[in-house]
Symmetry: C2
Subunit: 107 residues, 2 copies
């Protein structure tokens, strides 16, 4: 008997390469402990770059680099307050995604 699976048909039903690439790119943003910690702390309170660095006991530069990625992914936003930039969570989905991942881990 031949192979039962019609691989061509499956291929047709797959999302476009671009969609898959974008999904992976977005997951990549969540895939680093530092960025997850930033997102966690910003869920508690909006904060300046310096405060984030202080809470996480990390270099200002490292935080700034990571905030850049989070900005590009539209997961955080910021407003200016004098010399400070105050960052906050930009997206509703962040909480949902986090809660699903948490549930998976807990099980």
């Amino acid at each position: 008997m031949e192979n039962e699976v019609n691989t061509e048909k499956l291929l047709e039903q797959m999302p476009d390469e671009e969609v898959i690439y974008n999904m992976a790119e977005l997951f990549k943003v969540f895939s680093d402990s530092t960025r997850v910690r930033i997102l966690c702390v910003l869920q508690l309170s909006e904060l300046t770059v310096g405060d984030i660095a202080k809470v996480l006991s990390m270099n200002q530069s490292a935080i700034s680099h990571q905030l850049r990625m989070l900005k590009q992914a539209r997961l955080v936003k910021f407003k200016r307050d004098g010399k400070n930039l105050i960052y906050s969570i930009a997206d509703e989905h962040v909480k949902t995604i986090f809660s699903q991942i948490s549930e998976h881990i807990m099980e």
Copy 2:
């Protein structure tokens, strides 16, 4: 005036380092195009390793390496059928996580 933010209090409210590390590790599994493609195709149908490789036009070895990670993350499972191993999605959350990520991308 002093800093308005109580960084110590924020730190207390943060999830444990271990939880954060596990979250990031799990996101890391989703952060590669090949693994996302595997998860996508397995949402359409359970498949052998060879069939996955055929559908995705990739090396059997590459697929096998990635399935290993997906297995470790308990996102796929497999059953034996003669010489073949048939892989399938192991987890309810996969769909939910995917749909949230999709929504974020679409907006």
